[in-house]
């Protein structure tokens, strides 16, 4: 018994392989789209993972620090540090901005990390080169995706920072690479206006008779000094002592400190469910449409492949081939097509498409498996139409045409 499908593929293998390749690229795009969606969700999750926190303490009734702006006094941590079940606390600030490096600028999320030793919440948990920050000013650890190199100087507001370490996959929920700088510098960066604005503010204050009283000459200086400080941070990262329930600790902070506290799962809900909800739904919608289009195209390809062989099928019927053999021919061919297509798709998505996307593309193995099953099912299902045509063909066509 010879394999009809194999023989037929052999007969016109060039056409078959190229069709499969084309199909493969389509599947590759679909897989990449799934990867982009997963990448978006993953960006949000690594942001939480990398902060190393169990709890996020933010301004009361805000969804901070990622989804909404939040600011709390930078000495609030002291009260929280003393609460039961709290192992470590660390102030943190986040500010998305353009960072200048020579002529170009890069969009990054500047993260101000509290002084301490490696492992302090908020610090980059691992590096790919260099070292962690040791000075309390003017040093930076950057994500490698920012394009900064070790030893380079970058400009954030008016100060120059030396890149002392590089890390990887430290991104904001938007996928912007992070740059870690010492907290005090970050507070200044977040607050500091340009020099013009500062001078204008001083002038405005000086013109206000309430602040510039002739009888109290020192008042103006005091007011200006109080205007140029920033005692705020965006959130406090809390690490819960082992053996304590984060939810319980969160509840006691909520109750006694009257601040809003999020646990890891609540934060994930905010990030995935609210912050990136519309953009990820957009991608998911696109993925669905792309899948439908792909399956329609697969169906068409198989249908036309079968139509191209209609005369041969008629001959087969004429010589008395069983229907089962003909069905087998078509199904096997479409599965082979799907198989090669999937392989090409997976390779092209991984090696060609994923690396060129500016944002992270996460190709999950489970997605690939699901994709594979879907491709095979679509192939089998779309061959049904082709089978109907093939079985309805009149053997007489083999002679008549």
């Amino acid at each position: 018994m010879i394999n009809l499908a194999g023989r037929d593929i052999m007969h016109s293998w060039g056409k078959f392989v190229f069709t499969a390749m084309g199909l493969g690229l389509l599947i590759g795009v679909t897989l990449s789209m799934a990867g982009i969606y997963r990448g978006m969700v993953d960006d949000a999750k690594v942001l939480l993972d990398n902060s190393g926190a169990d709890l996020w303490v933010v301004q009361k009734d805000t969804l901070g620090p990622y989804a909404e702006s939040s600011s709390i006094y930078d000495d609030t941590w002291r009260g929280i540090r003393g609460m039961q079940g709290v192992d470590q606390t660390a102030n943190i600030t986040y500010l998305t901005m353009q960072v200048r490096k020579e002529a170009r600028d890069v969009r990054v999320m500047v993260t101000g990390i509290a002084p301490g030793e490696p492992g302090t919440p908020g610090w980059p948990p691992y590096l790919v080169a260099g070292r962690q920050i040791t000075r309390s000013h003017y040093e930076a650890v950057a994500d490698i995706a920012s394009g900064f190199k070790l030893g380079e100087h970058i400009q954030i507001r008016r100060n120059q920072y030396t890149v002392v370490g590089l890390t990887r996959r430290m991104v904001s929920s938007n996928g912007d690479p992070m740059v870690f700088i010492p907290l005090k510098d970050a507070q200044e960066a977040q607050f500091l206006k340009d020099n013009d604005a500062i001078r204008e503010q001083r002038r405005r204050t000086a013109e206000n008779p309430a602040f510039n009283q002739p009888g109290v000459p020192a008042l103006l200086d005091a007011v200006i000094a109080s205007q140029s400080t920033n005692p705020y941070v965006n959130a406090i990262l809390v690490r819960v002592e082992t053996g304590h329930d984060p939810e319980e600790v969160a509840e006691s902070i909520r109750r006694w400190k009257r601040l809003t506290v999020y646990t890891r799962s609540q934060m994930e809900e905010i990030l995935v469910g609210k912050l990136i909800a519309t953009s990820s739904k957009q991608i998911a919608m696109f993925l669905v449409i792309l899948s439908i289009v792909s399956s329609v195209i697969v169906a068409f390809i198989i249908y036309t492949l079968t139509l191209g062989k209609i005369r041969e099928i008629a001959v087969l019927k004429l010589i008395g081939t069983k229907n089962r053999t003909i069905v087998g021919l078509i199904v096997q061919q479409s599965i082979a097509l799907g198989l090669i297509g999937f392989v090409v798709g997976k390779i092209s998505a991984t090696l060609l498409m994923a690396p060129i996307f500016p944002k992270y593309v996460l190709l999950e193995p489970l997605d690939s498996v699901l994709g594979f099953i879907a491709v095979i099912m679509i192939c089998v299902m779309s061959s049904i139409i082709a089978i109907r045509v093939a079985l309805k063909v009149d053997p007489a066509e083999a002679i008549g045409g």
């Binding site: 030793e117 490696p118 691992y126 790919v128 962690q132 040791t134 005090k184 997976k346």
Partner: protein
């Protein structure tokens, strides 16, 4: 001959499909989440660290003199300008006396009147004395009553008291005049020391309140840097340590100095320790007061000890430690850390021996089940 074309076709097909599947297997297992994590190893070294502290501060003058009038008034003249050097005792400017001269003249008149009052009191006293003597004799002779003689004695005492009062009035008036004269001479704004004028806060014609500074003078040889160190990184800070000062305006140049004192009061709000660092030699030209300076304090070199990079340290399940590769598997070794230096090297007190290999860099977060792939440097990092 019939089989040959099929053979070629089969070979061609195989030559496409087999590499394709091989590539597929490679892609599935060597990239994405299933791929092994590239790691870079480093050796625990025996090194002596020279820890250092890093802080920023501003240039300040140790001695600042704010010169102004002791009473409210108007500035009459101010001859000096910002940037000028002045000598101790030099007259910098003058306050307008306004009514002071008139008041001194009035006091002169009052003084004369007081003198006249003394003369008057003196005459009254003399007369009262004569009268008292006369009635004394008359009383002895029995020509007058005891009562009249007593009245004359009392008149003498009153006249004497009036004279004392007039004399005291004279000295009061004299003192008042002296006070006005002192104020008159105090209208000059005089430099208390040799110094540099740094600010001129009022121009002639401006009315200033008592105590308000008209000019500000500093001693340019007393410059120091008021440095702030984060409390968490201020261990070992002490007076006498040598310091390197980098001024913001002179990025490449380092000045040397030493810690003069560590302030006994720390900043409660900013969680910083304050210290004063003096220059070994004050830079020429003088840096502007208020310029930002970065200060690195060198602490004494420590004895050699096992040292790792701070990039190798991870915090996992509440413990600090490092990842080690033992028999091809990753293992987390908790460590206890000692002193660190500014180059990112940290002493290891417990947990590691000299010569141990630890993971310094990794491409992804590690866990005990990570498949690893040891490389020289993480892909993507340009050397």
């Amino acid at each position: 001959m019939k089989r040959l074309p099929i053979k070629i076709r089969t070979l061609a097909l195989i030559s496409i499909l087999v590499p394709l599947f091989a590539l597929f297997v490679y892609v599935a297992f060597r990239s994405g989440p299933l791929a092994p994590v590239s790691i870079v190893l480093t050796t625990v070294e025996n090194k002596s660290l020279s820890p250092a502290l890093f802080g920023i501060g501003t240039i300040e003058a140790r001695y600042t003199y704010k010169i102004g009038p002791t009473f409210a008034g108007r500035v009459k003249s101010l001859d000096i300008h910002v940037g000028e050097h002045v000598k101790a005792g030099q007259v910098l400017g003058e306050m307008d006396p306004v009514d002071l001269d008139g008041r001194i003249k009035a006091q002169d008149a009052t003084l004369k009147r007081a003198n006249a009052q003394i003369s008057e009191a003196q005459v009254r006293k003399n007369y009262a004395k004569t009268q008292a003597l006369r009635y004394e004799q008359l009383l002895k002779a029995g020509y007058t009553s005891e009562e009249v003689a007593d009245a004359k004695r009392q008149e003498l005492l009153v006249a004497e008291a009036a004279l004392t009062g007039a004399r005291e009035e004279l000295s009061r008036v004299r003192s008042e005049r002296e006070a006005l004269e002192a104020q008159r001479s105090n209208l000059s704004l005089i430099a208390p020391v040799d110094g540099l004028i740094v600010s001129r806060d009022a121009d002639p014609g401006t009315t200033v309140v008592a105590g308000q500074a008209v000019v500000e003078l500093i001693d340019p040889y007393s410059l120091w840097v008021n440095v702030r160190f984060d409390q968490i990184r201020a261990r070992g800070l002490a007076a006498g340590l040598s310091a390197q000062i980098r001024l913001r305006s002179q990025a490449g140049e380092m000045q040397t100095g030493r810690v003069l004192r560590v302030e006994p009061l720390a900043d409660v709000v900013t969680e910083e320790v304050l210290a004063k660092v003096v220059f070994d030699q004050i830079p020429d030209p003088m840096p502007p007061i208020g310029e930002l300076a970065e200060v690195t304090i060198t602490l004494p070199t420590l004895a050699a000890a096992p040292v790792i990079s701070n990039a190798a340290i991870h915090h996992i399940d509440g413990r600090l430690g490092v990842w080690q590769v033992i028999d091809g598997d990753l293992r987390f070794t908790p460590v206890s850390l000692g002193i660190a230096d500014l180059e990112g090297r940290v002493q290891v007190r417990e947990g590691l021996k000299i010569g141990d290999q630890v993971v310094i860099y990794s491409e992804n977060p590690l866990n005990e089940h990570s498949r690893i792939h040891i490389v020289d440097h993480i892909p993507g990092v340009t050397q």
